[in-house]
Structure formats: structure tokens, C-alpha cells
Symmetry: C2
Subunit: 159 residues, 2 copies
Amino acid sequence: MRIIGIDPGLLHTGWAIIDVAGSSRTYVASGVILPPTKLPLPERLDFIFRGVSELCEKFKPDVCSIEIIFSNKNPKTTLLLGHARAAAIVSVAHNNIPVFEYEPNIIKKALTGAGHADKEQIYKMLKILLPAAKPKTADESDAIAIAMTHANMARFNVQ
Amino acid sequence: MRIIGIDPGLLHTGWAIIDVAGSSRTYVASGVILPPTKLPLPERLDFIFRGVSELCEKFKPDVCSIEIIFSNKNPKTTLLLGHARAAAIVSVAHNNIPVFEYEPNIIKKALTGAGHADKEQIYKMLKILLPAAKPKTADESDAIAIAMTHANMARFNVQ
């Protein structure tokens, strides 16, 4: 099973591809979709849509894993993030790839065993679980964590 | 100039097509995109994306007009609405149609002269301005209002 993990954002959308066979996980690729700065919202969303679509065509993932977002103390930012998230989801769904959505604490728990783990703990676990991955940014690292979450959840059938 | 107005929503996405030539406005068509009930979010967003894409192919609008949304007392609902809105926007942008975004009070003002006009006033103005339009739902009526807003704003170059 090949998983694409996506960490969406209007400025940078992290992505990661991992392969899963039984208990083994293999890092395939990861990166960040970076729309040109100052691109208006519609073109920015289309840039994310096209970027994700190209990844689906290139890597042919079987499933997509993406984080569930909640409205926080900055609802405006969350609303914009929701737009980026929807652009990524609609791109994957348009490519007929099923999308699995995970809450942030499930992602933390699936990787570290603790729902309240911090970024540093998750990063350390990723280095142990997937040493070939060398994420250069937090968005890339988060995308790997999201992909790995689906691998672990699917394995233990906790979803 | 042919305008598509869109009033997005996860349950029903209203749409309207109007033609503009100088001061004349002609109603072309309107309707509602209704994803099947109980469709999961990703497929629901793709349904909206495909629905808007079909409208763009069929009616070949020159521009799209859509409402700007703000986070209100129910941030969760707004966040989901943002997803539907993004699916519609990315569909239009993907069809290389420029998108114009208007705040709710601008829509009210462009149609009635008052930024605080209620739905009933807007509906009455639409009946006067566009008698051929016979919207059957509020979503359809709102989409016509949004399309008409761009017609009026573009005419007076207030945008």
C-alpha cells in the first residue's frame, strides 16, 4: 500500500509518500508545494490542486492521509487553512484516491503512543521509524507523520 | 460579459448565469448543485468541483462572482463552508476563469443601495432587476444576487 500524506497550507503544503508492506514502512519521497508569493487566493488554490494532482499521477498512491483541522483562536487563519485543505482533498478525490482524515491527537498517539506528544517527540520517532526520510521543513515532517499515522492505524485497524 | 455567481455550501451550492451588456442584464440559467446526502467530505467536495466544472464547460462564463465568508458564532460550520467554497473556487480557477470575491455587505449594497438590507429586500430587487429569474430556493436566489453584484460593481468600476 502506498500512502500520500498531506499537510496543507496556503503558503506551503507538505507532502510525503511512503510504502507499507506488513510491518515495514519505506520512505519514497517528500517535499513541499510552494505557490508563488502574492498569488491571489483562487490561483493559489489551483496551484495546490495542480501540485497534488501531479503527485498523484507521478507516485500513484493508493490512499491519502490528511489531518482534521479545528477552528482555533484565529478563526480567519483556520478558515483560509480550510480552503487550502479543501483544494488538496478535492485534488486527491478527483484522482479517485480515498482520503482518510485523522485528528491531531490521533496522529501524535499513532506515532508516539501519547496524544499530547510535542513536535520534537514526533520528529524523533520519525527518525527512528523512517531513517531514510530527511525532511528539510516542518511541513514535510508533518506530512510524513500524517502518512505514517495511516500506516499504523490501518495496520492495527483502529480507524 | 457572462457571469457565473456561486453561493457555495456542502449541502447545496447555488449557481446562476447572467449576461451583461452595458446597462442590460439577462438571466440565462440558475440552479443548485446537490451532492447525494451522506456523501463523505472528500467525495462531497469533488461533487461540487465537478458540478461547477460542468457549468463552466456548458455556459462558458467569462468571470465568476463569489461571496467572501467570515468566521461567525459557529466556527466549525464556517470551516466546513470554507471547504465547499474552496472546492467551487478551485474548479472555476482550474477552468481559467477569473474569480471576484465580494463581502456580504457589498452584495447587499450593490443590489439595494444599503449594506444592511435583509434577504427579503434583496429578493424584491432581484424580481425588479431580473424578472425572468424565478429562483426556487434561497441558494439559487443568493447566487443570482452574487452574479448581479459583479455586474453592478464592474459597471461602476467600484471594485
